[in-house]
Symmetry: C2
Subunit: 335 residues, 2 copies
């Protein structure tokens, strides 16, 4: 295992300190590294709190800031945060309008956020994100897993929270965005959890894991390496079959690298994906290409489609200022 | 070789099409993929044009836009663009105030930009960026190589060009920024050029290449893997020795991943680097952490320090809108 670390015990705490050294203008760190929060706490709005195992950066800590999350609770690598972390985050950022938990659908995360919800005083609601259509169940989840589509939920609901909408409205919006979001991923290599020290799985020289999860969980099949166009088609066909959007629907496309994939390949995949969307008569209204929901140094990518309406587009375009996403004004994918 | 591509011959053109599908609001593509340019051409300012071999994305094409480059000419992977590309870019974006070429110090790039400078009509000046202090010469360069510090030059000079400064002033500013910028990198793995199909070099299970170039060129020594703190120290000590900044100097720190390095490790390296700067009595005034000047899927990172003054800080903070860097307002590293 070759990694830029000092010791497996301090990977998380040192990485969070580095995040703070880089983004101290917008972020603060909770005691004992329990959470990362917005530096400018706004207790007059619903607080959005997410979290999960680390190793997926920039998700979630890189999505904390104006127009997205109010706090994120980082667990150890690929390990759920504990309920006391969420409780501490609520204490730090939530006010009378309450708290919305955004939870990826993994058993540990769901259970710990549920426990936290029972422990806090004010109003709390939760959204479970389960956008990964590759498998029905997995070693870590009952039902579909939450993967890169979480970004779309956090961004769109985060924008709406910034506008002052109430808890019930935001929870409903989040569930709608989740229902309109599907993802599927492929791995070309494994990743190595620091505390384990060896690759999570192994792939042959000419193999890929189709439908892989973001912890390197098995996908739906292992198959021979294929071309980018074929891979894009294998990833997007089930996504579009499941969403079944009418022709002319505006879509958000997220081409997400898993951590070890060059930008050159991600843009190439974006080109393949854009052609497929066009062939289905869909509008590529917004797109995001980069490594946003990662699996340490895993090579591969996922494709996410969220079907958008006028409201979702306006929320997506509104100002956001986090470590990983930042804009003031709309950016059209194809102007 | 496992890559998300269709064929080695079309990697560049398909990747550029994907870039355009994603950022068509701010970018346009030249005929025959000769260049990527700002969509809104401003011929009343000095045009900044850069370029170089592809495989380093987002450099340079991801740095085209308001407040940075007016155009970038992408060569094939790790191969210089040809003079006709620069000439076509000048035709497309330059006006009476002239053109400034920003060139990384590699023999092919320097030669081809020089030839282009002789072929175009209007005023032209060039800046050679040579921030890599690892080696005095290399297989591709006479003198120091141009690496991640190119980002600092393109950003600061790009901001000044946007303010309407003249060609001579901008060239002088660029040379000053280059002189105040030093970088050094380390590789934990090799990368594979698509057209070659096998890794550029090989490293043992416990080895790293200290001082590696961004094409996988040999560095100054191959050594046993070390801790993040030790690596940060080995990278920054020569950088700071060479720059010899007085205590209290405000610095820009760039922690740059080479393409296969997780964000978690880059933030951890940022933490190590920030501690070293503090120990030298330097001010971490601005910092940037991410994969900006890459070597395909190589694992490893480089550290860049630019010593800043009030002018450089103001230019750094001014609005920028490119595919890879985007902000409207200042962002302090430590507010």
């Amino acid at each position: 295992m070759k990694k830029l670390i000092n010791s497996v015990d301090t990977v998380l705490s040192e990485s969070l300190q580095g995040l703070l050294a880089t983004h101290g203008d917008i972020l603060s760190l909770g005691e004992d590294f329990k959470f990362v929060r917005r530096r400018d706490v706004v207790r007059t709005k619903v607080a959005l709190i997410s979290g999960g195992g680390s190793g997926h950066e920039p998700l979630h800590v890189g999505f904390v800031g104006r127009g997205m999350l109010d706090a994120a609770c980082p667990g150890q690598v690929f390990t759920s945060p504990t309920p006391d972390q969420m409780v501490a985050a609520v204490d730090a950022v939530s006010g009378a309008p309450g708290t919305l938990f955004i939870v990826k659908n993994y058993e540990g995360d769901v259970m710990n956020f549920e426990m936290a919800a029972e422990m806090v005083a004010g109003p709390v609601a939760s959204i479970i994100v389960d956008d990964d259509i590759a498998v029905k169940t997995s070693p870590h989840s009952t039902g579909r897993r939450g993967v890169a589509g979480t970004l779309a939920v956090e961004r769109i609901v985060g924008a709406a929270a910034e506008q002052g909408r109430d808890l019930e409205t935001l929870a409903a919006l989040g569930r709608t965005v989740n229902m309109r979001t599907r993802s599927m991923g492929v791995a070309l290599t494994s990743c190595t959890v620091p505390a384990v020290g060896r690759p999570t799985f192994s792939l042959g020289e000419d193999e890929m894991e189709m439908g892989v999860g973001i912890h390197g969980e098995p996908g739906c099949r292992r198959q021979r390496m294929a071309s980018a166009d074929e891979i894009a088609d294998e990833l997007l066909t089930p996504v579009l079959d499941d969403l079944a959007p009418p022709r002319g629907t505006p879509c958000l496309l997220i081409v997400n690298g898993f951590g070890g994939t060059p930008m050159m390949e991600l843009y190439l995949m974006a080109n393949s994906a854009a052609r497929i969307l066009a062939a289905h008569g869909l509008i590529l209204a917004r797109s995001l290409v980069g490594s946003f929901v990662t699996s340490l140094e895993m090579a591969g990518c996922s494709l996410t489609v969220t079907t958008m309406d006028e409201e979702a587009l306006a929320l997506w375009d509104s100002p956001v200022h986090t470590a990983a996403l930042r804009w003031e004004a709309p950016g059209l994918a194809q102007a």
